[in-house]
């Protein structure tokens, strides 16, 4: 189970009180209207991207930590970003050296490209970070107060047929408040990923896997990980994929498979509609 995350509103309030400031004074330090600041503390609104770096510095945390606190990225994305930053010896991979109210996303993309060219991050890491930035660009405006309830679960499963029903129950337990059409997709694809592992197990020393389910305001992410030494190479596309992976590639919003450190990972995301919007049906023509 993932550790508890301190929300942005709570962090802001704690920091403000540490500094002995009123909301008006804190708002002035962060160069926003008092009303806007008050809404951030109440978690009824999230800061705009042009304030992210300033807020992170004021809180004394990395931008990745600030984005995690604001429900804009998930634990995995924050960990990826922090790990890469740690290896670079930089304080913050989200380029704390760049100041101000310029376009956060364009600057981050440029910084990632620059570091990839310099060989400071690998191509795969650059792709990971870029995909996080691009997703942030599309979700940054979503109002938090109406977002889907955040939840996550990490569970060890035996790679046995019984794990199929267990994985489906786990998804339903964690994501029961998302629209039913999206829940059906997440349940289906999770079960397919586990089934794929059970098939892959034949002739290999593969006993357990880690299932991680994260419900975030804008999407649900499911990751299944096994030790790399025990897994076969992925066949997410092509003739060997079978119907299970065909379902993943057609029903998930984003998906992938491959080695990550010492693990082999298969994952997918299913985007959630804006809360209050008419639920879209899973259309297959």
């Amino acid at each position: 189970v993932t550790s508890e995350i301190i929300s942005l509103g709570e962090r802001l309030k704690t920091r403000r009180e540490e500094l002995g400031l009123s909301q008006s004074q804190a708002a002035r330090e962060l160069d926003v209207a008092r009303t806007a600041y008050r809404l951030w503390e109440m978690e009824a609104a999230r800061p705009a991207p042009d304030r992210w770096r300033l807020i992170a510095r004021w809180l004394g945390v990395s931008v990745a930590t600030m984005l995690l606190a604001a429900d804009l990225i998930d634990d995995d994305e924050a960990t990826q970003a922090q790990t890469i930053a740690g290896r670079l010896g930089a304080g913050d991979e989200w380029d704390a050296s760049v100041d101000g109210a310029k376009d956060f996303f364009d600057e981050e993309r440029a910084a990632i490209d620059r570091r990839a060219l310099e060989g400071l991050v690998s191509g795969a890491e650059a792709v990971q970070l870029t995909s996080i930035v691009e997703r942030l660009r599309s979700t940054a405006g979503a109002p938090r107060s109406e977002a889907w309830r955040r939840a996550s679960l990490t569970k060890e499963l035996a790679v046995e047929p019984e794990a199929l029903a267990v994985s489906r129950a786990a998804v339903i337990g964690v994501a029961s408040n998302i629209p039913s059409d999206r829940l059906a997709v997440v349940v289906q694809l999770t079960s397919e990923l586990i089934a794929d592992l059970i098939q892959a197990k034949v002739g290999q020393d593969l006993t357990s896997c880690t299932l991680a389910i994260s419900v975030l305001p804008a999407f649900v992410r499911v990751r299944v990980a096994v030790p790399r030494s025990s897994a076969r190479p992925a066949h997410p596309v092509g003739d060997e994929a079978g119907w299970g992976w065909r379902f993943v590639t057609q029903l998930a919003t984003r998906w992938g498979a491959g080695s990550e450190g010492e693990a082999y990972i298969a994952w997918f995301d299913v985007d959630l509609p804006e809360p209050g919007a008419r639920p879209a049906l899973t259309a297959v023509s």
């Binding site: 997709v185 079960s191 089934a195």
Partner: protein, 104 residues
């Protein structure tokens, strides 16, 4: 077992209820295939199926191949979501398994 396969004398169909996944796909096939073998126009009513994975659909496909030339095997009343899976798997065309009416 998470599913049940029962012949319905009133409709002539075979009714399937429950969840069919890789863990039960082989038994599902063993139970369903004999019930379809001698029917000229075999129909499977899936209105009670709440989950079926790719292994379950593959079992359905194998049943259709063991129908002694009868067929196609028509799947009726699947949920909209199961119907969408069947379309992705290619069951909506002129193959041995075809999709009948879906329910809402």
């Amino acid at each position: 077992m998470l599913f049940r396969v029962t012949p319905d004398a009133s409709t002539g169909r075979v009714r399937v209820d429950g969840e069919i996944d890789m863990a039960g796909a082989e038994v599902f096939e063993q139970q369903l295939a004999p019930l379809l073998a001698d029917r000229e126009s075999p129909e499977v009513d899936m209105s009670g199926v709440t989950f079926i994975d790719s292994a379950g659909l593959r079992a359905l496909y194998r049943c259709s191949e063991s129908m002694n030339g009868n067929g196609p095997l028509v799947v009726v009343n699947p949920s909209r979501f199961v119907a969408s899976l069947m379309k992705i798997a290619g069951f909506d065309g002129a193959g041995p398994v075809v999709l009948g009416d879906a329910r809402d």
